[in-house]
Each structure stands twice: as C-alpha cells, then as structure tokens.
Subunit: 561 residues, 2 copies
C-alpha cells in the first residue's frame, strides 16, 4: 500500500499534519488526528507570489485528504481573515462538507463568501462562543478568546488523554483591546496547569522585540491628525479590521464629520459587522457616497480600501483621478492605516506619490503611528509559553525563518530541544508523551486559482508566462512539402512583446537565418515535424542571443499541408 | 520654431533642467544652463520597475539635448553609484563625448564600465579632488567633499554672477566617516556667506527624523557577530560600499579569518578600490575562492553580493545549494549588511528563509544593526539648509513625496515659500535674483535597455508582455478561401501560459465557437482579413470571459493561400 501518510498511530498519540501556513504567510490549514478521527483548523488562501503572474489567489492542495473525508469531524475557523477562511468555498466539497465552527463574525464573513460561490445552502455552519466546549467525535474541543487585528478571534484547545493540544490561532496580548475582550490568559494558564501535550503558536512577529502596541494606541494618532485636517479625511485600512474602523468612526463623530464608505469589501464587511453588532456607526453619521459630494470637505470622512496600492481599489483610483464619485481635492488628508505588506511596497509608494501629486497630505506607517500589528511580539510569545508550559512545541503561522526563531525562543524558555521541531507543510508529526516523531513528507502544495479555473494553471503555464513576460514571443509559421522538404509556406515571423518592429529589421534578418538553415537541411530531416521544430527553435535562439542577447519564447508552427 | 525648451534666458539667470531622478529613485541627471552654455551633473541608470518585465535597466531620455551638445562644457559625476554613473556608457556618444569629471574612485568605476562597452578609448576622463576649482567654459566650478555610502563622493558648486549654485550630490553628515573625510561643512558655510542663488539637496531620507548613524556604527555590529560565529561568516553588501567592506575586512583580521571574495561586481570593485588605494586588504589575508574550501570554517570570511536576493548572485546560489565553489554548511553565519530596497523584500525574504533551511544563522537589517543609510536625515538636511542659506531651493534625488516633504522642510527653515519649488523631470526652471520661473515641461522620460537593445522595447511591447504574463496567449491559425470564405485550414488553436491542456477541453470548445462564428458569417466579410481577425478575437474573448473569466492575448493568424 502506498504511503498515504495516514498509517495507524498508537491510541496515546496524536498526529498533526500542516496543510499550509508553515513556511509561508497565508494558506493556514492544520489537520489533527486522534483515535482514528480528524479535525481541521482553518482553511485559508494566499495572495499570489511574484512568480505567479495573473493568478488571482492560491489555495492549499488537500489531495492527501482524499479518501479520508469520512473521518473528518469538523473544521474550526479561528478568525475571519482570508488567510484562515478564504479557501473554504473552494475546498468545502472536496472535504466532504464538514460542519464548520467559528465565532459569529467569522461565520458572518464566511457566509458572504459562500453566497458568492452559491454554496451557502450546502454548508453547515455552527456558531461558537469563547469557552464553549464542543464534542466532535473523539475530539473534546474548547475554543478560547484571542485578541487580534480582527474582532472575535479564537484559539483552539483539544483535550486528549495525554493532555491538551493548544493552537493559539493568530493573537496578540493586547491588554486594552477596543472591545475589552483580551486574550484569555486565564484559560491558557488552566490548560498549563492541567498539562499541555502540544502547543502550536503564532510565529509572525517573533522577530519583534518587546510587546506589540495595543490597538487603542492608533486612536491617539487619529486624534492628532483628524481634528487638524482642513479638507476631507480619507482613511484606508483592511476592511476586516473592525476595531480600527470603529476607532476611525469614533474620531469622525468627535470631530463632527459624517462617514462615507467606499470599496467593495469595506462596504460588505462594515455591513456584516454592523448587522452582527460588532461595529457601531450611528445612522445619522453614516452617509451615502452620493451625498458626500454635497457636504463641506471638513465635514467628511471617507472609509475605504486600497492601503496596499491595489490597482482597482478606490484609493488608487482617487489618486489617479479616476474616482468620479468623490474626487480628491488639494488640502485633503489621506491616512493609510495599515502595514506595508512585503511585496506591495512599490505599489504603495506609487500610491503615496500620486496622492501627494493631487495635493493631499498623507500619513502612513513609516512616518506616523497610524498602524499597530495584530500579532504577538517576543515578550508576548514568552508569556504564552510560560503559562502553557507545553511538553512539546511546534511553531506555526510564519515563514521558515520565523518558525526557526520561534523554536529557538521556546528552547530558550526551557522546552527540551528534542521536543521542539520546525515543521513544514506536508510533514506529518506524531506527538505523544514520549516525544515527537516525524514522518516522511506527503505531497502537498498550492493550487492556483485564475478566474474561474481552479488548478488548471500549473507550473508549466507559469513558466511560459514568465518567459514571455521577460523576453517576448516569436511565432514562426512554416510549411514544407512532405515529399522533398521544399518550403511551401513561410517562414513567416510574428512577434509580441519582443521588439518594436518599426525600430529594427531583426525579424527580417531572423527570417533569412531560418531560410538558410532550411536550405542546408537534408530533405528527410526537414519533413520530420518534430526535428524541424527543434531546428527552427535552435537556429533562432542562437541568432537572437548573438544579435540582441535576448531569449524570446520561440513558437514554431509547422502547418500541415 | 517649436519649443525645444532652450529659449534664451537673461544673462543674470540660470536654467536648470532635471533629466532624471526627480520623482523617482535612480536616473539622476541634471542640466544647468548659464550664459548660453551647458553643464551636466551625473548620468545615472535605474533598475527596472515591476511594470517593465524583462528589462535589464533604464536610462534617461536625453533627446531634448539633441542639437545642444555643442554647448555642453562637461559632465560632472558626484560619485560612483550606478544611479549616478550607470547611463554614461549608453549616452556618452549622444551627448557628443563631453569631458567627464569625477573623483578617482568614481572614474575608476566608470572606466571599468566603459571598458565593458568598448568606449574607453573615446572617452575623456579628468580626475578632480575636493576643493579643486575647474573652469569649464563660463562655468566656474568647485567640487567639495561629501560623505556617503560610497567613498570619494563630491558635491558641486558653480559660481555665477548672482551667487553660487550648490548641488549636494548624495550625502550624509557622518562626523566619524571611516576615511576621516566628513562632508565639507566649512565650504558649505563659505558658499552661504558669499551668497547662494540656488541649493539642490538630496531628499532620499527626508522622512527620517534625527540623524543618520555613522558608518562606523556598523563595525560594532560586526564586532558582536563575527567573533561569536563558529562556522564561516558570509557578508553580503553592496559592492560599491568600500567603507563597509573595509570594516568587514578589519573585523576579519581581528578574528584571524582569511577573506575570500565572490560575485562579479564584488571582485571587480574591490580590485579597483585596492588599486586606487581606497581599500586595504593585506595580501596575506586575501585568499582565492578555491583555497577557501581547504580552510577550517572558523578561519574564513566570505565577502559577496546578493543582499537584494538577486537570482544569479553568489549568495542566492549558495542558499539554493547551487554554488559548488564554496557551499554553505550548517552553523555558518550570514550577514546581509544592506537595506531592504523597496520592491526586493519578497526576494530577500525568500533568500533569508533558504539560508535558514541550510542551517545558517542570518543577521539582517530588520533584526540587527548591520546597516546604516548613506543619506542625510531631517536634522542633517536642516543643518545644510541653515549653513547654505539659499535664496532659492529645489529638492532633488527622491520620489515625489520626498521632494514635497523636503520643500516643506526648507520653507519651515525660512526659505520663502515662492522660492521653493518641487520640480519633476523635464521641467525647466529659470532661477534669478528675482526668483523662480517655471517653463513648460519638455519631453523626457525613460529609455529601456533589454539585452543589447537600447530603446527597441517600448511601452507597447511591455503591455503585450504584461498581458501575456497575466493571462497567457492563444494563437488561432486559419485560412479561408478568397472566393467564398470557405475554411481551408483550421481553425487550429494553440496556447501558451493559458491553461494546462490535459486538464480541460476548453480549447476544443473554443475552436467550435470559432467554427460556428465563421459558419454564420457572410462570405464577403470572411474574406476580409482584418475583419476576420477582429471577429475571431471578439468571439474568443467573449467565450473565454464567459467560461473561465480570463483574458488571454488572442493572436489570430490568417494564412494567405
């Protein structure tokens, strides 16, 4: 029998299998196996890497769960960020429609996504509250409150005969969260007292010393900027950051500004959060975008998206003078209340420069205190390790270097070196009182979503895309006589993205090269289509390399006669 | 007469025309006109932006200097960074081979570039020393020492009847530079006393409060890391940062480590700097790469490139286990002694993660003090403004927002608002005792270099490259009878980067769509090649949008029969 990765394990052991999020930011998904049953934690997506041009989003490859879905007792979502819930609509069917558990806001956001995918009718969603216990097959689960950059976050604790398995989800130890619901250190301490077999903890900010600032600190920055602003204030932030949005609204109210909302996800998420009671915007404060233009500029605050410089976002369109509904005016103030996510800096810089060109004053992470992180820094991670006192430790949620550093941190806190391991996606780990036992890596990975296609763009297509993007394309049309290899058509050369044809006669010269090459070819070679393709490609590759030092993708098309 | 931008100006005025570097990082080049003659300052390149896939580098468009080269009295290079000298080999001929002035190291680096382009014989290079005066036509020029992240940097002062024109070049006010040659505040003060008509000053770090740390501070970080390292230490830094390299070498000597050098530009630049006496590496410390493998790891320090995660660099190849000459081993230490340049973060993160996977310990900007900037922060910029006391101020060297903030800083320091202006590339400015007068913008811009081609890849090719990169390509081959529009060949569909063909029958379905479309077409339409192309494109665009929501580039090829 092939290794499906699901060989039997002893009754006094659990197996964990990370399906995403370990060694990368995004795609968070973890499978836990105990007494022959499976529990899933999170099911997130990732935004494409630079080497995936044109891809819309990426989801985990869960093919190693094929044939195992009957054993899945549930999918627990820790919070509503895309990198934790975003793959659910794409994978729910593949996972056999397990019941999905989550806090009200998490499920509210998920419901919206499932509606878009016309899957809401088939999904079974169950709301859970902090400290609620759930019996899911053999799994005795308790969820606990964690503070994070989205409201209503949860961690997951699973009681086993060998002790608790604790998964923090994404968290920080904000002692003054906007909703007064800090991370439940009391429960973490209780798990520690009762005995924790395994801790899995958020590694995102392990490189940051000290403590992450409280979300409330951002209010101070708003209170400095907004009252002084003479024109409109536009605040761009992550549409899921309900606490941030709440603080912006409070400052608007204090300054007597009405609040308009723009941007698809901002409109959707504020609607959901208001309906569920997570966001308080008085009815007389909220105005429609079309009313906003009639207000004096200093009575207006716009909440919007685009803080990452996303090309189609409202803020970028405003910066490019393409947002007719509410154009920017000189003297307006723009606040980017967000992190510069690595990979987006160029786009964000471009956005900021264009905002300045419009005459706006701009505040952003690198110059003002308009953003705080949602993830725990070193001292917070240490507190959790010291409360939970885990027998075994696996860092989760981070790039490889974050995991290594978090592992070092745990060893430094006294977890025995051999009971701490850096796991990557697809690496099953068996955990028992005896310690950790790694198993051979399974095939996992990333599935690309492009438009409506899921998985139909693969590595080869990406390679071709990058090749053409970097070097352009040359198509060669050619027909030869099947009898004597005489040229019947062409060679005709066409190019795209290769060279401005009016600037050079390079394609003409290339055509002559192919003719010469064909003239010197034995007829029996020329009539073999594959050989002919290879030779045309070789001839042109050499020619372009010699003349312009470029490597366009060469696509010989041998026409059948 | 068309506006060439060089209409006459009064004898008591100068005109400046930025040709690059204002509103962007890179491409620094400035023209100064006085009494009918021209002086150029710097001639730099830029590395390509994300929207320029496949482009190797970018140079300024100097077409507005066409017909003016007879008036050019010289090109002064402030320092040897690529964004100040890199375009010289590409533009020297276009500029009519003006004499090039620069410090010995600057010209040493340039000479190397000119050799590569086989231009050294035609170039006239003249070395200058700090405080040296030059009479270049009507221009009485004095260069003065500035400290920067490359040795031997200069600023430029031009004496006119109306006062000095001072151009800082790139600088910081390092009070303890490694070569004990700080920025020449004495001369700056003297210009100020004598009267400065115009100051142009480096805006790169205007967003940074306080003072930029001295280059010597980095030595402290090295002194902490290197002695503790158990294996090899590899330090990656910019190959032009000779002071940084000097400090690395000093630490190696102190720890009894031999120094090996890898990476094309690191090998070249250290050779040039040693020959010119700017870099001291004792002969018995420097070893060949091939000797390095025989040394005990803790006796070895490698100086190399790749701190930006460049794909072909030595360090990246080491991280990917592709550098056979000297593979990394677990326990080695890697120091990225450099800034994370915006746009490179993803590549750098990837590099760091792979270094950790190899078992190396890695130190970098965000976790250790292994880098300091070469540009002046706010307090330094203020000191220069207050010493120089300019009548007029134009911020240079920065993105648009930097220029705006630097302009604000100058106004805050008492330069009258109307005598400070934010200039963009191609905007001529006439400066006189009466103040500033802007002239209409000239055509300037960027010329793309791809392989050996200069300017033969334009915006249209870039658009096609990006289009295919994002959506793939579908080629449609088709021949119809010129008589009755009957299909004689095809339609045959080929794709690249669009879809994994084994995963789907979408191309088959698309082919049938084209057939149906053709069947319903009037013969007189079908025989018109252009109409046919348009209709095929329209038909497929609609079909792919409806079915997979994608927009491949569709390339219909109508074969002539």
């Amino acid at each position: 029998m092939p290794n499906t990765g699901w060989g039997e394990i002893p009754a006094d052991a659990v197996r964990i299998l990370p399906l995403g999020g370990l060694g990368e930011i995004g795609l968070n998904m973890m499978a836990v196996e105990y007494l022959g049953e499976l529990l899933l934690i999170d099911c997130g997506l990732m935004f494409p890497e630079p080497y995936m041009p044109g891809i819309d989003l990426v989801i985990p490859d869960v093919s190693c769960l094929e044939g195992q879905t009957g054993r899945i007792r549930g999918l627990i979502l820790t919070h509503g960020h895309e990198d934790h819930i975003g793959a659910v609509p794409f994978l729910l069917a593949k996972l056999g429609f397990p019941t999905v558990y989550g806090s009200p806001l998490t499920l509210g956001l998920l419901r919206h996504r499932l509606e878009e995918h016309e899957l809401l009718g088939q999904a079974s969603l169950v709301e859970v509250q902090p400290r609620q216990a759930l019996d899911l097959g053999v799994f005795h689960v308790e969820v606990f409150r964690v503070a994070h950059s989205i409201v209503d976050g949860l961690g997951v604790a699973i009681r086993t005969a060998m002790g608790w398995i604790v998964h923090t989800g994404d968290f920080k130890l904000d002692q003054t969260p906007v909703d007064d619901q800090p991370t439940d250190l009391v429960r973490l301490a209780a798990y520690g007292e009762q005995g924790v077999l395994l801790l899995m903890s958020d590694s995102t900010n392990v490189e940051k010393k000290g403590f992450t600032l409280s979300e409330r600190e951002v209010a101070a920055a708003f209170a400095e900027i907004v009252p002084r602003a003479k024109g409109m204030v536009a605040v761009a932030t992550f549409s899921s950051n309900i606490h941030r949005i709440q603080q912006v609204v409070q400052e608007a109210v204090r300054c007597g500004r009405k609040v308009a909302i723009a941007g698809r996800s901002m409109v959707a998420n504020t609607r959901i959060a208001r309906e569920l009671g997570y966001l308080d915007i008085p009815d007389d404060v909220l105005i429609e975008l079309r009313q906003a233009r009639d207000l004096p500029r200093h009575r207006l605050l716009l909440l919007t998206t685009g803080s990452q410089g996303e090309a189609q976002s409202t803020l970028v369109r405003m910066a490019m003078e393409e947002f007719r509904a509410l154009p920017l005016e000189p003297g307006d103030t723009v606040i980017l209340s967000s992190k510069f996510i690595p990979g987006n800096e160029k786009a964000i810089n471009r956005l900021i420069n264009h905002l300045y060109r419009r005459g706006a004053e701009v505040f952003y992470e690198t110059t003002s205190e308009v953003h705080v992180s949602g993830h725990a820094s070193q001292e917070e991670l240490k507190i959790v390790l010291s409360l939970v006192c885990p027998q075994n430790f696996v860092p989760v949620h981070g790039e490889y270097r974050h995991l290594v550093r978090h592992a070092e941190l745990a060893r430094g806190m006294g977890v025995p070196a051999e009971r701490v391991t850096v796991l990557e996606n697809g690496c099953p780990l068996v955990v028992s009182a005896a310690g950790l036992s790694r198993e051979p890596r399974l095939e996992t990975g990333r599935v690309l979503v492009d438009g409506r296609g899921v998985g139909d763009v693969g590595l080869m297509e990406l390679r071709d895309r990058r090749h053409i993007a970097n070097h352009g394309l040359v198509v060669v049309l050619l027909a030869v006589s099947p009898v004597d290899g005489r040229i019947l058509y062409g060679p005709e050369l066409l190019s795209r993205g290769f060279v401005a044809e009016e600037e050079t006669d390079i394609l003409d010269l290339a055509r002559r090269q192919v003719c010469d090459m064909l003239a010197g070819m034995a007829p029996e070679t020329a009539t073999e289509q594959e050989t002919l393709e290879v030779e045309v490609r070789k001839c042109l590759r050499r020619f372009f390399n010699r003349t312009v030092e470029r490597r366009p993708l060469i696509l010989p098309i041998i026409l059948e006669q």
